[in-house]
Amino acid sequence: MATVQKQAEGTAAAPDLDVDGVTRRSTLKWMTVAWIGFTAATVAGLTATMRFMFPNVLFEPPTRFKAGDPSTYSPGVDERWKEKYGIWIVRSTDAIYALVAVCVHLGCTPNWLAAQNKFKCPCHGSGYYVSGINFEGPAPRPLERAEITLSPDDGQIVVDKATRYLYERGQWSDPKAFIKMA
């Protein structure tokens, strides 16, 4: 510190110039404040711009919906909710489950081909059995199943697409992955 001071005194030819109260020190101080302020404002502006692209309200169908009484489903694949919610309700011999109608390859909507007893994706040809298990085409894994329960109020089927059950994780035997039918 002392050395620095001595040097400063020694170089008297370049003193801390004071022009109308503006010194090197005050300039540096205010420039620092200005740059920090500018950077903060820029970051805040960019963050606000990013946030602007994510709206607070989504005008999309809800992920949870009532799908009617279980007795209205006859054995086989039911397509009544496919258009609106992207869900197939399938009744097998002893259970009802909800298949998500999104191809696990690249996200297209497969078709139910009743004559060939399979789901077939028109985009790249992935094929799935009624169970949802893949057997042809590029699909890397079975279709996903959505949570399916019975409403305690009126006994209707309630499907929640937000909760998924994956075959490859052994989740299809989870009690909420199907409704037991006598």
Binding site: M53, P55, L58, E60, L106, G107, C108
Partner: protein, 260 residues
């Protein structure tokens, strides 16, 4: 004699002199001043090397690309007078552009022009690569060019959705699903599942990269509008700015490269 008088009167008028400031460009100095004093002419270099105008060497692929960009800007502007980017109207407006609008070929000009531009960009890059024109001091401009290639492809990608037919919707569904594989900010991306507080995932299907692109969880009204804005305004503005940089750098790095 009277003809001569009239001519002198016109060329001596304030109107004439305010437009043609340099006079007859009959010396090299006047030619340079005429070029530099005009916003359109100054885009072209005052001098070019002989090799710079050899089609066999440059293929004019970059020039063709720029020309196609201008064609696409103009035809795209015309299409915007009829096309409405909403789920209700988009598809029928595309049909109307063909059936009900004079010169129904305009949309096809835009479409084929877009295909041609992607091809000419590749030819341009191929030429630049094969002639070694990416080498220093032009390496900076090569990078600008690569960004412009990506923007060209993004323009094609965003324009692909606008007809709003089955091909468009599913192509964009497939294409935008790739965004969900982005590291950390895509819902299926590597590392994303690690970002959580307790049991709550920070990145969900309503705030990941794919959602930002589509404005929804699937390709719907929000996606159509976003892609329209990006296609017509956002990406062209960025591309035009980078093109200005690109052409500027060609000049500053010694002009169009010639045979060694």
């Amino acid at each position: 004699m009277r003809w001569r008088q009239l001519q002198d009167q016109i060329t001596a008028s304030q109107l004439w002199k305010s437009i043609f400031r340099v006079g007859v460009p009959n010396t090299n100095r006047k030619r340079v001043l005429a070029m530099l004093g005009n916003v359109v002419l100054h885009l072209h270099p005052v001098k070019t090397r002989k090799s710079g105008v050899k089609m066999r060497y440059t293929w004019c692929a970059g020039g063709v690309t720029f020309f196609l960009f201008l064609v696409l800007t103009f035809t795209g502007l015309l299409l915007m007078f009829y096309y409405r980017p909403t789920v209700e109207y988009a598809f029928v407006d595309i049909l109307d552009l063909r059936e009900q609008v004079p010169f129904g070929i305009m949309r096809e000009v835009h479409r084929w022009g877009a295909h041609a531009m992607v091809i000419s960009v590749w030819i341009h890059m191929f030429r630049v690569f094969m002639t070694g024109s990416y080498k220093p001091p032009r390496e900076f401009n090569w990078v600008i060019g690569v960004i412009l290639l990506v923007l060209t492809l993004l323009l094609s990608f965003t324009g692909y959705l606008l007809p709003w037919d089955q091909l468009a919707i599913w192509a964009i569904t497939v294409g935008s699903n790739m965004a969900s594989a982005t590291p950390l900010v895509g819902i299926q991306g590597p590392g994303t599942s690690l970002l959580k507080i307790g049991d709550i995932q920070l990145v969900t299907s309503t705030n990941d990269a794919r959602f930002g692109l589509l404005g929804g969880r699937f390709v719907g009204a929000g996606a159509l509008l976003r892609f329209y804005v990006l296609h017509c305004v956002g990406i062209p503005l960025v591309a035009a700015f980078l093109m200005a940089v690109h052409f500027w750098r060609v000049r500053k790095d010694g002009g169009i490269s010639g045979p060694v």
